[in-house]
């Protein structure tokens, strides 16, 4: 029996990757996290001299922080909602129907991501200026909507294509009209994967910075935009650190939610389909 035991080898490659990832991702997070709960931290001390929630109180007491949180949440909600209303039926059309220009249109959603985003944004800003959309809520909604199109079309298309057509036909057969079939059969079948797309689009919009800044400034200030201005203009590091930690909250909640909603493999199905 003894010689059938496989010698347990140390997976050096795996350890190397894990260490590299830890240094690159976890270490900065730790530093920022520590700064957020630090009252005094002076060179050359390795750990802060004084921990505390002083800067949390100061940050959360600011009106601009609260208004930017509300702004970010309402923007992300509005963009995700509009994106779902526009993109899901479009994705269904891409998945199930054949119409002229289908392939070119389908790949055109990639175009927005294929070029340097900032150049595109500046060009759009020029157009928005003439339309009086600069500095307005709906201007930012519009620009962020463009950013969600790729996820909200491509992932649901794959999800819809993965739904067995016979299931839809069986529903037609028992008396459901096309819209009822979509609502009662196709959407629930594609549900988990679409939930993943919606989640991605919400979180992506919440963190979107360039568009919100270029189109929204100075009237519209989202949390990331505010954080940038804090980091640039404030000599106190803790303000930025506290906002960073605040910004983790939605993605953390999203991740928890994702673990429950997304059955294993549906992400892969969405991207791979």
């Amino acid at each position: 029996m003894a010689h059938t035991l496989v010698e347990k080898r140390i997976d050096w490659t795996g350890i190397l990757f894990a260490v590299a990832l830890t240094i690159v991702i976890v270490f900065p997070l730790l530093v920022v996290g520590t700064w957020a709960f630090t009252n005094v931290w002076r060179y050359p001390s390795v750990i802060p001299q004084e921990f505390g929630l002083k800067f949390w109180q100061q940050t959360l007491a600011r009106a601009d922080v609260w208004s930017s949180i509300t702004m970010s949440l309402s923007l992300a909600t509005m963009v995700t909602l509009l994106s779902a209303i526009i993109c899901l039926p479009a994705a269904y059309a891409f998945a199930r129907m054949d119409f002229p220009g289908r392939s070119i249109l389908f790949f055109s959603f990639l175009a927005g991501h294929a070029f340097p985003k900032f150049g595109l944004l500046v060009a759009i800003a020029g157009i928005f200026l003439q339309l009086n959309l600069i500095g307005t809520f709906w201007g930012v909604v519009l620009i962020q909507l463009v950013g969600t199109l790729l996820f909200m079309i491509w992932i649901p298309v794959a999800a819809f294509q993965a739904v067995d057509r016979r299931m839809e036909e069986a529903a037609r057969d028992v008396g459901a009209g096309p819209f009822r079939v979509f609502w009662s059969i196709t959407l629930p079948q594609a549900g988990p994967t679409i939930a993943a797309a919606v989640l991605l689009s919400f979180v992506g919009t919440f963190y979107e910075t360039e568009g919100a800044w270029l189109i929204g400034a100075p009237q519209i200030r989202t949390l990331p935009v505010l954080m940038i201005s804090f980091i640039n203009n404030q000599p106190v590091i803790q303000y930025g650190a506290v906002l960073s930690v605040l910004l983790w909250v939605p993605s953390f909640i999203a991740l928890l939610f994702a673990r429950r909603v997304i059955s294993s493999g549906s992400f892969a199905k969405g991207f791979g389909g």
Binding site: D164, R166, M167, E169, A170, A171, R172, D173, V174, G175, A176, G177, R180, S184, I185, P188, Q189, G191
Partner: protein
């Protein structure tokens, strides 16, 4: 009275005609099997009756009403798919209740009808089960129940048992036949299995290249196949191409008296009708192999040119490899230009 009337229906996909000028009338309560190899257009035909395909030309009428361009949800047909196509996000009860809910029936009525149909297909008490917890046979029963619960005028079954194993297939086939008889529901059954068609059907429609080869009772299709194709497709059949001269059919030493005019002909003999007798001298053919199945034996025969024939006999021990024999067909048919020209029974 005819429940279903298909008149001169053609369905073309590009240049190929999946169904070609097809006509069929089905009477009330009749069970018709559409039988044919894959690509013969039988599934396309069924889908046109269900409303999932629109004919390129021709008409489909149900109960005298033209439904050629009516959408599936407005047709009084119920379809059972090969892949059962159950909605996996609903339990068994909800799968069955979905169509009834669309018809706005009261809750109590829905519950009563669903439970009655589940009982009918032998799945009483399975309502709360998830469809994914069921075996293949149970899933197919649920799919059948989902159609039956709506009491369709015509039940359409598209190779419903193709994905099940042989044993289960035979059992479900009998159950479907029982249910169909009890409910007296007009049924169209698509299959490529001839035993399924022979066991189930009141009438078999043998299809080939989108056309009807023969439409008749199972026993007629088996005993008097209208064309060499049907003869070869239903059951096992020895088909021998040869020539007739002076009232005798000849193919490589194999001769049979055939009282038809001179010319080419195809001879069709069932293995059970092909008698083998010990040869006087050289013989017409030789025994190639004997396979003993206990109740009967199958003897493979080789003609001088290498053509193989099969004979079914009750006694295996009389024959051995290489033995010269003569052939005496007890019953046979002869075909010329795709039509029967002679039958001897």
């Amino acid at each position: 009275m005819s429940v279903l009337e298909i008149r001169d229906v053609t369905k073309a996909f590009g240049a190929t005609k999946a169904v070609d000028s097809f006509s069929l009338t089905v009477g009330d309560g009749e069970l018709v099997c559409l039988l044919g190899p894959s690509g013969s257009g039988k599934s396309t035909l069924l889908r046109m009756i269900g409303g999932f395909e629109t004919p390129t030309s021709g008409h489909v009428a149900i109960d005298g009403e033209d439904v050629t361009r009516v959408t599936p949800e407005k047709r009084p047909t119920g379809m059972v798919f090969q892949s059962h196509a159950l909605w996996t996000h609903m339990n068994v009860f909800k799968n069955l209740a979905f169509g009834l809910k669309l018809r706005r029936l009261p809750e109590a009525e829905i519950k009563r009808r669903v439970e009655a149909v589940l009982e009918l297909v032998g799945l009483g008490g399975f309502g709360h089960r998830a469809t994914t917890q069921l075996s293949g046979g149970q899933q197919q029963r649920v799919a059948l129940a989902r159609s039956l619960v709506l009491e369709p005028k015509i039940l359409l079954l598209d190779e419903p048992f193709a994905s099940l194993d042989q044993h289960l297939r035979e059992r479900l086939r009998e159950e479907v036949r029982d249910i169909q008889q009890r409910l007296k529901i007009t049924t169209l059954f698509v299959t490529h299995g001839q035993d399924e068609a022979l066991a189930l059907a009141d009438r078999i429609v043998v299809m080939r290249d989108g056309r009807t080869e023969q439409a008749a009772r199972p026993d007629v299709v088996y005993r008097e196949p209208a064309t060499p194709f049907v003869a070869g497709f239903i059951g096992t059949m020895n088909l021998v191409d040869g020539a007739v001269a002076n009232g005798t059919f000849t193919h490589s030493g194999f001769t049979v008296p055939l009282p038809v005019g001179d010319g080419a002909a195809t001879l069709a003999v069932r293995p059970e009708a092909l008698e083998i007798v010990s040869a006087n001298g050289g013989g017409m053919a030789k025994i190639h192999r004997v396979t003993d199945y206990g109740t009967h034996a199958i003897v493979d025969i080789e003609l001088p040119d290498g053509t193989r024939l099969k004979s079914m006999t009750s006694e295996a021990r009389d024959w051995s490899h290489g033995q010269p024999i003569d052939l005496k067909p007890r019953a046979f048919a002869a075909y010329r230009d795709n039509a029967a020209i002679h039958r001897s029974n």
